[in-house]
Amino acid sequence: MAGILVYALHDDEGNFNKNSLGAISEAAKLAGELGTEAAALVVGDVSDEGAAGLGKYGARRVFRARTVPEGLAQPIVDAMAKVISEQGFSYALFGGGLLGFEIGAGLTARLNAGVTMEVTEVRVEDGKLVAVRPVLQDSAVVDVGYVGEPGIIIGRLNAFDASERGDGAAEVVDVDVELSEWSTKARMVKRGEQRGADVNIEDAEILVGGGRGLGEAANFKLAEELAEALGGAVAATRAVVDAGWYPYSAQIGQTGKTVAPKLYLAVGISGAIQHKVGMQNSENILAINKDPNAPIFEFSDLGVVGDLHKIVPKLTEAIKAKKGG
């Protein structure tokens, strides 16, 4: 049968990765159009409920390889290769992330398959999948088709949105995987988020970004209160992270994270290009700055020239009042 197999990554608490769930939803959508099945592969210690729960996102079957360790590429290549060969899947799909890149690349070599990386969109054409990927620093896109099977598709980070499109639980199928000799050479010592996991600004729909205009570290309280009132998170510029006012995990820009929330509220941020490249795709940008010539006003939808120390507390109060009433 010619289905699509997705590798679903989970953390030590059993929570599945957002990009993996997105890939399952995408596979289910495509499988519907192809008239075939979307399935997922999980490794390590995953509960029956956890594995079956992937059915919500559209996986009909979930293959579980309990003896294969999570987080290392080579053992997972063994597991993916076995399930694809034995079950005859036509495509393997990976959500974004470094591990997906590594497994996808290894799988490609193992199965002598065709691969497309950094894919932003997949569609069905003449009963086959076509992967779309940006090239030349995203100045053009190319369509990639597959002449043989399986076709390996590795998505760009956040390319696929998770949606609960499935009906009911997935069938859980336990598989035994014999690891290759080289797959046992590395051992997982510890897993964790490298750069502070406390603030997940990439997922927030509303962000309040604080810059040097706040004056001192203690004044980030203003941004935090505003974010709380709005139900959003707090982000920061390189300069204030550099000064130690806020953790690196909240840094936006060329050397930080790239975000695209529905609302970006820039407080005391001048808007240097290094910051702009990290947030310019926000749907709505609102800036408060005392300098009317600050570059941020050139790409804001709404600009307020004034003293943020006076404006922000009042704005927070007004939002609280509106939400309360």
Partner: protein, 565 residues
């Protein structure tokens, strides 16, 4: 009275910190035949020439091992850290590639027309005929960043091992014989701690070491101090900031300007000028160069270039265009008297801008670098055949070449400009007419960092950047391709608490906004202030080394990624 930055020397001792013995065991070290530091025109010409010579020397080839020539380059690719005007004299290309047609050179066009203008705030007065030193007829407009890539490819094709993203951090010396270099560590955090991706440097042990590091060479500085190679006069520098513009109408000539926006009064000591070169049909290269012996702490070459672009004469050329690139670099301008006393010591030679092989009067240096690289290659191959590390033949060859002939002719001209524009112009004419016989003697020049700085009014003249035609420093750093990680260790050595005059000098001088005075201290008027350093902005132009600090190489791969400057 002003304050000289030299009174606040950086916490650094190059000959002790950056010169070391071999520490890696025999298994760990990397053994190469010739180690060349710097993938610029000097280093790559040397590498290519060695490979050409080795074709006829199978026995020596064998002895040099698996990697006969390695070029160590801190930039992401060959050319990533190269910046120049540039109009190039073609003799270096001809000497290195005698069979290559100029149509295959990495150049834009041959110069057919020259023009030199004296600028007033509103007018551009053509100097006819142009001063001889500015005549470029028959030279080629090139981008040295492109030239670096071209030479890098040729070198790799010839079998050279090009080690990019690798800094040469220390010079390996044993018994006063240079034995190679040690590469820099990678993956250290802000306080020097080892991060998850930490990789220690390695000893690159070589039979010959070529320092072709370019302006403000890190190991060159250490070697000059360690071996006592200081020239008869101290080296000094100019700082150049340039942009590349896409323009709707092609430029038909090579342009140089003098005068405005520099101020004529002798006490400001502002010397320099601009260049505007055509790059094919749709691009121009525009830059401003000024001597780092100026005395107004608020003077900024980057902002002088922005002001210069507002002149109606320049506006007409750039009108309707967009800026596509930006960069900055220092230029050694000490000339003949500042050349190291010796260009070779046992096991090592110094080539190109690292040695100060630059002719500021004629704005030329690329061909000297290439010739020097070729001479070094020939001397090294001849010596290694005899199993010798004595490369003195290189020193003699340079002193007897067009490099020293040219530098000697202009030996006293740059100094004259420190006494004002018109006096300098008169001396330059004298040198031209007498083919360098006059003025005689050895005119004094002193270190840029010894100039006493005062907080003047240069800063108040600069335009407020509009982001379209004139640009601030940060957006310019972005245009240089620099995306250095923020938690890299600081590679800039300066004193952090200094008189306001010194701090302001660094703040204004640096084209990449590396130095800042905290806002409250800037406003308070305190006589001494703290200097905040943002090393990730640094484009490694080297100005800080000239003006009282010391640049060291950051982690390999950091800094700008110049494409076409």
């Amino acid at each position: 009275m002003g304050v000289a930055p030299a009174q606040f020397p950086p916490p650094v001792a190059p000959a002790e910190e950056f010169v070391t013995g071999i520490t890696d065991s025999e298994d760990e070290r990397i053994e190469v035949g010739v180690a060349i530091v710097g993938a610029g025109p000097a280093g790559l010409a040397c590498a290519i020439r060695i490979m050409q010579l080795l074709e006829g020397e199978p026995e020596l080839s064998e002895r040099l091992g698996e990697v006969p020539v390695a070029v160590i380059e801190k930039g992401k690719v060959a050319g990533a850290h190269l910046l120049s005007g540039a109009t190039m004299r073609p003799s270096g290309m001809r000497a290195l590639f005698p069979d290559l047609d100029p149509s295959e050179w990495p150049v834009y066009q041959r110069v057919e027309k020259d023009a030199v203008y004296l600028l007033t705030p509103r007018l551009a007065l053509p100097l006819k005929p142009p001063p001889p030193s500015f005549r470029n007829h028959g030279n080629y407009v090139t981008s040295i960043a492109r030239l670096g890539r071209f030479l890098g490819e040729r070198a790799e094709e010839a079998g050279v091992y090009l080690l990019t993203e690798t800094a040469a951090a220390k010079l390996l010396v044993e018994d006063r014989i240079v034995r190679g270099v040690r590469s820099g560590d990678k993956g250290r955090g802000r306080d020097g701690e080892e991060l998850a991706n930490f990789e220690p440097g390695s000893d690159v042990v070589a039979k010959a070491t070529v320092l072709a590091e370019g302006t403000q060479g890190h190991l060159t500085g250490a070697a000059i101090e360690y071996f006592g190679l200081e020239g008869l006069q101290p080296q000094r520098w100019e700082l150049g900031v340039k942009e590349v513009w896409e323009v709707p109408k092609p430029l038909d000539r090579v342009i140089h300007t003098m005068g405005w926006p520099l101020r004529k009064r002798a006490r400001y000591n502002e010397f320099g000028g601009s260049f505007i070169y055509p790059m094919g049909e749709d691009k121009v290269s525009i830059g401003f160069v000024a001597g780092l012996d100026y005395t107004d702490a608020t003077f900024s070459v980057h902002d002088t270039l922005q002001l210069f672009k507002e002149h109606p004469f320049v506006r007409r050329i750039l009108d309707g265009g967009t800026r596509v690139a930006w960069g900055a670099k220092t230029i050694p301008s000490g000339g003949f008297w500042a050349l190291p006393r010796k260009l070779a010591v046992p096991g090592m030679v110094i080539c190109g801008d690292a040695a100060g092989m630059c002719n500021v009067a004629e704005l030329k240096g690329i061909h000297y670098a290439m010739h020097a690289g070729i001479y070094a290659a020939e001397a090294i191959v001849a010596a290694l055949k005899q199993d010798s590390v004595n490369f003195d033949a290189y020193d003699a060859r340079v002193r007897d070449s067009l490099i020293c002939e040219d530098l000697y002719r202009w030996r006293n001209v740059r100094q004259a400009f420190s006494r004002g524009f018109f006096f300098g112009g008169a001396i330059a004419s004298l040198a031209t007419i007498t083919r360098g016989h006059l003025p005689p003697g050895r005119w004094k020049q002193h270190e840029d960092a010894l100039e006493e700085m005062e907080i003047g009014k240069a800063g108040s003249r600069y335009p407020k950047p509009d982001g379209k035609y004139t640009f601030d420093k940060l957006s310019s750093v972005f245009a240089s391709g620099n995306a250095t990680r923020d938690d890299a260790p600081n590679h800039i050595r300066i004193q952090r608490h200094v008189p306001r005059e010194v701090a302001q000098t660094w703040v204004s001088m640096c084209p990449a906004q590396v130095y800042e005075i905290p806002e409250e201290q800037a406003a308070s008027g305190a006589p001494e202030v703290d200097v905040h350093v943002t090393p990730s902005n640094c484009v490694q132009c080297g100005a800080i080394t000239a003006k009282g600090g010391r640049l060291t190489p950051p982690e390999g791969g950091d800094g700008p990624l110049y494409q076409e400057v």
